[in-house]
């Protein structure tokens, strides 16, 4: 029972990281109608930025995290300006945006691979004593990852639903052309969205790196975020979070009780089963895919 509870907590904390990723995809998709495939490269970049800051510049963890967030924001907004904005202005089909994003992804991941090599590295942070809660030991990093991830999601919710800028983004998500006619600056919306994307991917990257390992292909975990948002039901933030939690718990249970080498197989089977019995996901209602 204690083991089960431990797995559950661990699953929720990995689910929180998946939710960050799922929300990051949903945000870009809702406004620009394309999947930001470069997102997983941003995540690896964020993790490596923090990794380098700690290992080579001997900075404390929180400072490294801050630097990683800032650098990832710069990268994310830079990619938007260089690769996406031209296509956006030309109103290119979203197929082209997707291909462009895949290109960014390939380039960044392989540059990281070229600089650091493809090996798995342990995130340089001293292991701390787990917290004991009624006999259940909880990894302190799991706890921090969970709390910070939920904190970031809560801040994002406040930003989107309680500020004027958030209103502008939600208006753009409904119809970007009408929104710009109403005086919403499209370029400013793009910068804000890709800034948020940068924050989300950096936080997710650092905590995922701490939990497993830091390596150039670590962004492949964003598949899980996609699976989670399909499972939850495309279209809403709560559904993405529900899907992420379910997937995170399922995965830790599989690696705890069956075998960690079959973990990814089970998440994929989970997706197929959900699609067969709930074609719109667990909470999905219609084909509308908005925030």
């Amino acid at each position: 029972m204690e083991l089960f509870l431990q797995q559950l907590v661990s699953g929720v904390s990995i689910g929180a990281i998946y939710s960050l990723l799922a929300v990051g995809y949903a945000l870009v998709y809702s406004v620009y109608n394309f999947t930001n495939w470069a997102f997983d490269a941003f995540m690896a970049f964020g993790a490596f930025a923090a990794f380098t800051a700690i290992l080579w510049l001997f900075l404390p963890f929180w400072l490294a995290m801050l630097i990683s967030i800032v650098l990832t924001i710069v990268l994310s907004v830079g990619v938007e300006k260089l690769a996406y904005s031209t296509l956006r202005r030309r109103k290119a089909p979203r197929l082209f945006m997707m291909i462009s994003a895949m290109g960014v992804n390939l380039a960044i991941v392989n540059i990281i691979n070229k600089i650091f090599g493809g090996t798995f590295r342990k995130f340089p942070i001293e292991s701390v004593q787990p917290v004991f809660l009624g006999g259940v030991s909880i990894g302190r990093m799991d706890l921090i990852a969970g709390v910070i991830s939920f904190g970031v999601l809560a801040l994002l919710w406040l930003f989107l639903y309680r500020t004027k800028w958030g209103l502008g983004i939600r208006a753009s998500a409904i119809d970007i052309l009408t929104a710009s006619l109403m005086g919403i600056n499209n370029d400013a919306v793009a910068v804000i969205i890709f800034t948020i994307t940068g924050v989300l991917s950096s936080v997710a990257g650092v905590f995922y790196g701490i939990k497993y390992a830091v390596y150039p292909m670590m962004g492949i975990v964003t598949i899980k975020a996609m699976i989670a948002s399909i499972v939850g039901g495309l279209g809403s933030l709560p559904a993405a979070i529900l899907g992420s939690m379910l997937l995170g718990v399922l995965e830790t249970l599989v690696s705890g009780y069956i075998s960690s080498s079959y973990r990814d197989l089970f998440s994929f089977l989970f997706l197929i089963v959900i699609l067969l019995f709930f074609p719109n996901g667990l909470m999905g209602k219609s084909g509308e895919e908005k925030l």
């Binding site: 998709y29 394309f34 999947t35 495939w37 260089l82 690769a83 031209t86 296509l87 290119a92 197929l95 082209f96 945006m97 997707m98 291909i99 462009s100 895949m102 290109g103 960014v104 992804n105 390939l106 380039a107 960044i108 991941v109 392989n110 540059i111 070229k114 292909m217 492949i220 598949i223 996609m226 699976i227 399909i230 495309l234 080498s261 079959y262 990814d264 197989l265 998440s267 994929f268 089977l269 997706l271 197929i272 699609l275 067969l276 074609p279 719109n280 084909g287 895919e289």
Partner: protein, 296 residues
């Protein structure tokens, strides 16, 4: 000579797999980043048939391809039925191919058959030579051309351009997409089989996401709705890294930047929307010889 033959064989195999991706991505507009998984399925299946059951080589290739095609329905049917949009379908294919690779990596033995797990399936009879590849390639190209110019191919193009409009004109979306997926997985399966019979062994490490991105890259650079474009680029993308060994490490970085640049400056790809036919030969003939005749 042996080196040149190797490039021809590997290039030819790559073209066969790329033609499959061209039918799915270029013509039907469905993104795939998991065709390496279908290559693995077809490759292992046909290798097992020849080595363990002594099935004749061409029949084993066909069965391997069909097997890959049938397996594609495992993701195709649920994904298309629930109208998973393009990007999520791409993720499903990626997940599928990673799952296949995981299973192969962890399967040491399959009944009496020693699959070797991560070490690879050894001692496959070596049947692939340059003539086999060229002949298969010829058939593959002929069939792909016949497919995309047929009624079914036109349905595919219609689906790629506007699903709602296509459906209103009476195109069965599910069926059209499943046919395109089946054929493209079949091509990948045959290519995987040829690869196994060429190297005489198969390892799960052949079929990583890098292989899938290479196939997609060939179609993107070659052009949307074109067979001849991906045909040319698939060969070039195999031949150039072989010739310029020094660049091999930079290959994917360069591809990445090229993706972005191509999308900004020539989004339809090198030969996008150029149909493969002999018109260009006739035009060239007229241009070079017609003028001479006229002058003469």
């Amino acid at each position: 000579m042996g080196y040149l033959t190797a490039i021809l064989i590997l290039g030819g195999i790559n073209i066969i797999a790329t033609l499959g991706v061209a039918i799915l991505t270029g013509y039907t507009g469905l993104f795939t980043i998991g065709h390496a998984g279908f290559m693995a399925l077809g490759g292992y299946m046909s290798a097992i048939l020849v080595k363990e059951l002594h099935v004749p080589f061409p029949i084993a290739l066909l069965i391997g391809g069909t097997f890959a095609g049938l397996c594609s329905f495992i993701i195709g049917y649920p994904a298309f039925r629930s109208r998973l949009r393009g990007d999520y379908f791409a993720i499903a294919t990626l997940g599928f191919s990673e799952a296949i690779r995981l299973i192969l990596n962890n399967t040491k033995t399959l009944g009496p058959i020693n699959l070797g797990g991560a070490f690879g399936y050894m001692n496959i009879p070596s049947h692939t030579n340059v003539w086999v590849v060229l002949f298969t390639l010829f058939l593959a190209l002929l069939f792909a051309h016949m497919f995309v110019t047929s009624h079914y191919g036109k349905n595919c193009i219609a689906v790629a351009q506007d699903e709602v409009a296509a459906q209103m004109m009476g195109v069965n979306l599910l069926k059209t997409k499943l046919i395109a997926l089946f054929i493209s997985a079949f091509y990948a399966g045959v290519a995987g089989g040829l690869l196994g019979f060429y190297f005489a062994y198969l390892s799960p490490s052949f079929f990583t996401i890098t292989k899938s991105s290479d196939l997609l890259a060939a179609v993107v650079f070659g052009g949307i709705q074109s067979l001849i474009g991906p045909f040319v680029t698939a060969f070039v993308l195999v031949a150039v890294p072989e010739v310029l060994r020094a660049l091999a490490e930079w290959r994917l970085i360069i591809y990445g930047f090229l993706f972005v640049i191509v999308m900004i400056f020539r989004p339809q790809g090198l030969l996008g929307y150029v149909e493969m036919n002999l018109n260009f030969a006739r035009l060239l003939w007229q241009k070079w010889f017609g003028r001479k005749l006229a002058e003469g």
